[in-house]
Assembly symmetry: C2
Homo-oligomer: 297 residues x 2
């Protein structure tokens, strides 16, 4: 099965205790795709500006991503500037420049509209709804969002939640949208808003899954040297959705395995800046670490 991912492709300036990078390839869709590609063919739906370096396009293409709907618009690429201090758990956003994102309406080919597995990575919920409305026969739809949209486009997000199967949130977002501090209670609440499954990503503390009265809880893969956590959540979602997209059926066993693959993919992501580590990743690397991960509990 192929998968369509809509989201951002960005130029990131990031500073962490391990160093700095400028105009690094990033964005929610790019991180998702770099992880999901290890399981399935990935169609990347996003917009970049005229300033977007050809080498980044080259990298995405070389990694086997299908770029038919990666459009180049007049204007500057979406940019994010952030830093992490000592605990590496929370990003501090220094600046966001929407650029070409501000007028983006995804347009995809008739062929891509037929793809049944879709991930709406973090981007304005109105853009997410626009894409989803054009899909002909969605079967498995995942959604990610962020605090900003929960605060400023709550209504649009709530409508969208009714139409998706999987909602992926981090702990802060889950608490903000549900009003529940306890994460099990929050996940249950969010599940009642529409999605069949809710994933609460807790960063270095792992992930909580809730769906159909079933609960799963996995620790993170212990990484001793975190270089840059940017995109770890999207990388997680890419591994999770990628595996599920390939799995023959969606049941407790395949969901657990998908969660473990997401965890392991995210652990590689944090070991390098941006996509540095995941771009080199192979399915073999992922399998070997999965085995090690399973020995940890």
């Amino acid at each position: 099965m192929s998968i369509v991912v809509l989201g951002t492709v960005a130029l990131d300036d990031v500073a962490t205790p391990s160093g700095k990078r400028r105009e690094m390839l990033g964005g929610s869709a790019a991180h998702f795709a770099m992880s999901a590609r290890l399981f399935t063919s990935v169609h990347l739906v996003a917009v970049v500006g005229k300033d977007f370096p050809a080498k980044h396009i080259g990298l995405l293409r070389n990694k086997g991503l299908i770029l038919d709907s990666l459009v180049k618009a007049g204007g500057r690429t979406f940019r994010w500037q952030g830093r992490y201090s000592g605990d590496l758990n929370t990003a501090i956003t220094l600046n966001t420049e929407l650029g070409v994102l501000s007028s983006f309406r995804p347009f995809i080919s008739e062929g891509e509209r037929l793809i049944k597995h879709i991930f709406l990575a973090n981007v304005d919920p109105d853009i997410q709804r626009h894409l989803l409305a054009g899909m002909r026969s969605p079967e498995l739809v995942g959604l990610d969002s962020m605090n900003y949209w929960i605060k400023h486009k709550r209504r649009s997000l709530l409508q969208l939640l009714k139409k998706v199967d999987i909602y992926v949130a981090n702990d802060q977002e889950a608490r903000l949208l549900s009003g529940e501090h306890n994460l099990v209670a929050a996940a249950r609440y969010l599940c009642n808003l529409g999605p069949k499954m809710v994933l609460v990503k807790k960063g270095e503390h792992g992930v909580l899954f809730y769906g159909n009265n079933v609960l799963f809880s996995l620790p993170a893969y212990p990484v001793e040297k975190v270089v840059d956590p940017t995109g770890a959540g999207d990388t997680f979602a890419g591994g999770f959705m990628g595996y599920l997209s390939k799995a023959k059926k969606i049941d407790a066993a395949s969901i657990k395995r998908a969660l473990a693959y997401g965890t392991v993919a995210a652990s590689f992501n944090v070991e390098g800046f941006g996509l540095e580590r995941t771009a080199r990743l192979t399915a073999g690397d992922l399998k070997r670490r999965l085995k090690k991960f399973k020995s940890y509990f």
Copy 2:
């Protein structure tokens, strides 16, 4: 195998979002013992004051704990007053009254000195060293401490660490004593101070185990309604040490199972104030929840 636990037996005043309790039976040794009793016979070594209610002694005795070395001294029982706000992860200490603890030197019978499994629950490290020095043939020694002793009796604690097999710390304590923020790095550092095994308790985020270049990481048991987390760490240690004390050998499999038992015991502890829930707990309850816990990952 029997186990000797040294620590505090306290009167706790606790306020949480679920309510308040006054002069509730608590303390590190009491919480440890209430959990370890489900695996092995537990000898409680502690001191209480003249004000200690007979009903509390009755409860401890009824639960099968061996109280030969629970001494009553002139003065007031050790008291702790604390509260938890919304997130229930961090206790705010309002007041501590040492009372009889300030002059406590544990004195135990010749028979108890022969017991090979020992847990030094949180109390002044000088008291812990005093007890350990009197044990005839320790085979498995666990140690817990707290921020206060790490700051004020670091030297004494470091000497003690050389003589124990297992060091149990929460994440803050592990960071404080090691100077490492990353918990894997912290656990590795602490292991180099003497103990063969280090357990880092992360509260609602589970536990990290490091020993002999082996790493385990378990999530917490997801509890939707946390009533009072007081004593959860000691309850965890009681389940962990209790199971290991009973196990035929200490290897990867038995350590993992011990960690799971500790996790599950702690999950019951937080469901009630103080010892309310764990005092009613049976080995059957523990086994049933262990099975459920294992289905979560």
